[in-house]
């Protein structure tokens, strides 16, 4: 059985369909990369998988529990097995790195303070920040913040690690280091990871499976080789980095049509 199962998911914002009957299975122990352009619905899908929003219809099951219909208590239990590193890192600025990582350990476990301190150091050391625990988020570089967010996500030894745009806004070297860190975490902790990105190089470096989104629908799902061999024009366009013709976008076409009609009406 899949660890995460998304079935017939439909999400609408103010009547605008953002995800349209989406189906996705995420297997245990694999790194699945959600790939897609801006506005394709990646972040919306992620928010659904994290239970941050309710869909119009469809379901999201994590470890067999439908999080769109379960109780708050069940959702909390599920959430303790999911570690999330947000795109903006979302570290608590009023807390030091140590306290950011220790927060869930202190509040969700009965571990002794000395054990919590040890685990916090270990988690920070895993991401290469063992010596920076006393610093506050505002004292860190972008790459360090992302790594600190990963350390916080790992605090409760989650079965599932979710990373939202981990390499966005980072220089290529730091981005590559983060890719290696994700691969290391998979090897060391047999973690199941869901990574949202639009960085092609990073996706093909870390993914076991790639799911490609376009316009709220899944265009293709498969291994790296299957995606590379996919002949769908949109997939090819994305892989080959071919720019879309702005004259062919539906919004612009309808605007031009209305403009022409209004000019004709004036005449």
């Amino acid at each position: 059985m899949s660890l995460i199962s998304v079935r017939d998911l439909v999400v609408e914002y103010d009547g605008r369909r953002v995800l349209d009957g989406l189906n996705l299975e995420i297997e245990r122990g694999q790194i699945t990369v959600l790939l897609g352009g801006s506005g394709s619905g990646k972040s919306t899908l992620l928010r659904q998988i994290l239970g941050l929003e309710h869909p119009k219809s469809g379901s999201v099951s994590i470890k067999g529990t439908d999080i769109t219909a379960c109780s708050r208590a069940d959702l909390k239990t599920i959430r303790r097995s999911v570690g999330v590193a947000f795109q903006s890192a979302a570290l608590f600025n009023s807390l030091s790195l140590e306290d950011n990582v220790a927060l869930t350990l202190r509040e969700h476990t009965a571990l002794a303070p000395s054990i919590v301190d040890l685990i916090v150091w270990l988690k920070l050391a895993v991401v290469g920040l063992g010596d920076f625990g006393k610093l506050h988020p505002q004292e860190l570089s972008g790459g360090m913040k992302k790594r600190a967010a990963v350390a916080r996500a790992l605090a409760l030894d989650p079965e599932i690690l979710v990373l939202d745009e981990p390499s966005a806004g980072l220089d290529p070297i730091v981005a590559a280091e983060l890719d290696e860190l994700i691969l290391f975490l998979k090897e060391a902790f047999q973690i199941t990871a869901l990574v949202v990105t639009h960085e092609m190089h990073s996706a093909f470096r870390i993914a076991d499976r790639i799911a490609m989104l376009f316009d709220g629908k899944l265009l293709a799902v498969g291994t790296k080789d299957e995606i590379r061999a996919n002949q769908n024009p949109r997939v090819r366009q994305f892989l080959n980095r071919v720019p879309a013709n702005p004259m062919h976008t539906p919004a612009l076409a309808s605007y031009l049509e209305r403009y022409v009609q209004s000019q004709e009406a004036k005449l």
Binding site: L50, R79, R80, V84, F86, A90, L103
Partner: protein, 267 residues
């Protein structure tokens, strides 16, 4: 005419929606409040509440005291300039004592706390929204209402009435200093007359108002923060709105309470 009615209707619905949201938030916070209580609640939430009490209460003390002293002098001097003409200078004591206990103490405190802490609540929560910290709390299996709002509300409920009492003392003291310099009335005699002129009902009326003002300030500040959408400029707008709306609602609530106490007192 139809346009005016349409605008008026839309504005009314918008204000009703705002009041509805305030009520929903109030009930949610009251439900989560147990977690912030000492002994029976979560020690981390109680510690956060104590921290908030220091910020809202202790740090506002000099400002509230200074406001109360200035207002005490103003009230005493304005009252004296009129009452002297009727040979009733002695009634300045009643005016200052009753005026501060029932009215000015809680109102001045509310205005000071609204400016200092209401805006700070909105800025803090708004920034947390913008930087995804609220989402981070949810996915870390915390209840944001319990984690963020409950300690703030508990702190406001404790500190605003305490600050009101401080404002009463300093305002009445200012009246005593004025009386000493204008009539050579000793401070001990002045305070004896003050105690004779105020009743327990006056003190309770002031404290009830202070609790209501604390509720308004805390919840308007938090709601304005929670309504932030977009970037940092939205946070700036929310802080302004928090002060404007909470000050307005405090004065409306004051008028309602004063009317209730007036009519209840008459019967």
């Amino acid at each position: 005419m139809a346009r005016i009615l349409e605008v008026a209707g839309r504005k009314t619905l918008s204000q009703l929606d705002y009041v509805g949201r305030l009520n929903i938030q109030l009930w949610a916070t009251l439900r989560g409040m147990r977690a912030a209580l000492p002994l029976v609640g979560n020690r981390h939430r109680w510690r956060a509440a104590v921290h908030q009490m220091l910020e809202i209460g202790v740090e506002a003390l000099p400002m509230v005291a200074l406001l109360a002293i200035c207002s005490g002098f103003i009230l005493a001097m304005q009252g004296a300039s009129e009452l002297r003409r009727f040979g009733a200078l002695h009634y300045v004591i009643d005016l200052v004592a009753v005026g501060f206990t029932r009215e000015l103490g809680p109102l001045l405190t509310a205005i000071a706390v609204s400016g200092r802490s209401g805006s700070a609540f909105a800025a803090e929560i708004g920034t947390m929204k913008v930087t995804e910290e609220f989402d981070a709390l949810k996915v870390m299996a915390f209840e944001p209402v319990e984690f963020v709002l409950a300690p703030k509300y508990l702190a406001a409920l404790v500190t605003v009435p305490c600050l009101s009492i401080v404002a009463n003392l300093f305002g009445i003291l200012a009246g005593g200093i004025f009386m000493f310099f204008s009539t050579r009335l000793g401070l001990l005699l002045y305070f004896r007359d003050v105690l004779n002129s105020i009743a327990l009902r006056d003190v309770l009326a002031g404290l009830i108002k202070a609790v209501a003002f604390a509720t308004i300030i805390a919840h308007v500040g938090c709601l304005e923060g929670l309504r932030v959408r977009g970037g940092p400029e939205a946070v700036g707008r929310s802080t302004t709105m928090a002060v404007v709306r909470s000050t307005f609602l405090v004065i409306v609530a004051d008028a309602i309470f004063t009317a209730i106490f007036y009519f209840v007192g008459k019967t």
